[in-house]
């Protein structure tokens, strides 16, 4: 290897960091034997160190890391298993809600099975009671007239529950109930509920 060839090889040599790189070994050995090449190599490495030092002396402006961290985009990696889990949860929740709504609707709109009951309470004129909340002995005369004239009659039980009183289909009991307006009676009949509305189909009336 000539000195010129060794210089070409050592052009990339950076000092200790490249000490073990095989491509420099022969040229380095040559430099150990050739004082002129050794001088050149020393200057070369000094020059490398000087350029490196200048480059490494470049300092970023103050506050750059804070600026980087302030402006950092919030990552939103799409975890598809999580997305699917969420979708399934939403679907199940929606299905359960729909079923509950349907069930609730059916419950409120269904007719409970009719049953025979015995209820004690005041006979009401439903028109005045619902519209004006009128009942009791002071309203007895009005209620009597109203029921006799065909206004629907009701029964307000001791627990506050109000029933619409009816006879059997096609049968009107208004004439009989008019005389009992505002009085406390016990009625045996069939209770039926639809849409939350209570009806008591009279079988027997017992006066106190």
């Amino acid at each position: 290897m000539t000195t010129s060839e060794a210089k070409e090889k050592l052009l990339l040599y950076r000092g200790p960091i490249d000490e073990a790189v095989p491509q420099f070994q022969a040229a380095l050995a040559h430099a150990r034997r050739d004082p002129e090449l050794a001088d050149w190599l020393r200057d070369h490495v000094r020059c490398y160190d000087a350029v490196r030092a200048k480059l490494r002396g470049i300092e970023p402006p103050i506050g750059l890391p804070e600026k980087i961290m302030r402006g950092r985009p919030v990552p939103f990696p799409r975890d598809w298993s999580r997305v699917l889990q969420l979708a399934a949860a939403v679907l199940i929740s929606a299905s359960v809600t729909a079923l509950l709504l349907k069930w609730s609707e059916r419950r409120h709109h269904s007719v409970t099975s009719a049953r025979e009951i015995l209820v004690t309470g005041e006979v009401l004129d439903m028109t005045c009671y619902i519209a004006y909340h009128l009942s009791g002995p002071e309203h007895a005369e009005c209620a009597k007239v109203c029921i006799r004239n065909g206004a629907p009659a009701g029964l307000k039980a001791g627990n506050g529950k109000v029933y619409l009183l009816t006879g059997k289909p096609g049968e009107s009991l208004n004439a009989q109930l008019a005389d009992l307006a505002a009085k406390i009676v016990t009625i045996k009949g069939t209770e039926t509920t639809r849409d939350g509305f209570e009806q008591l189909q009279i079988e027997e009336i017992r006066t106190l």
């Binding site: 052009l11 020059c47 970023p60 890391p65 985009p73």
Partner: protein
């Protein structure tokens, strides 16, 4: 301040090196800051795709270099001087080489090099990367990297030799 300690740690660890690399490529502070920031933002979005944690540094340098090349497609800030592909003669290394290197003129010398040569040369000087790592960072073959560094270094030495040493 970031709520992500890993990200913060990564910034603290590499922002200086990336900034220096960016500054050496772009030649000015503003672009170097932009390149450094953008590199970390790309990391925040895509860094989780990197499988080998040992390659974080190389990944960051590669990303910054790509960003630089992208911005360079749209603008010409330096007049790049192509390096003669013919085997150049080795310039003498001035004895006062160290004195001729100035912190202000060095970036302008680097700016005179074609960007194809500038990036490997800066990595060669700046980072303690092996030639294989430089080649990997720039995604070019090892032989090409060494050839580019050699040519760029000769050009830089020529520019230094032409510079009047400070009196």
């Amino acid at each position: 301040m970031s709520a992500d300690p890993k990200f913060e740690q990564l910034v603290q660890l590499y922002y200086r090196d990336l900034y220096r690399f960016g500054f050496s490529l772009a030649g000015n502070e503003a672009d170097a800051c932009d390149l450094t920031q953008e590199t970390f933002y790309i990391w925040a979005r895509k860094g989780h795709q990197l499988r080998d944690p040992a390659k974080v540094k190389a990944w960051l340098f590669t990303t910054l270099h790509r960003q630089f090349l992208q911005t360079r497609r749209h603008e010409t800030r330096f007049k790049d001087e192509p390096i003669d592909e013919a085997s150049p003669e080795l310039p003498a290394i001035a004895a006062d080489c160290v004195n001729r290197i100035d912190a202000r003129t060095l970036p302008s010398f680097l700016g005179q090099l074609d960007e194809t040569y500038r990036a490997p040369l800066v990595l060669y000087y700046l980072e303690d990367l092996s030639y294989n790592e430089i080649a990997e960072t720039l995604a070019v073959p090892l032989g090409t990297v060494q050839s580019r560094i050699a040519r760029a270094k000769i050009k830089l030495l020529q520019l230094l030799n032409e510079t009047n040493p400070p009196k």
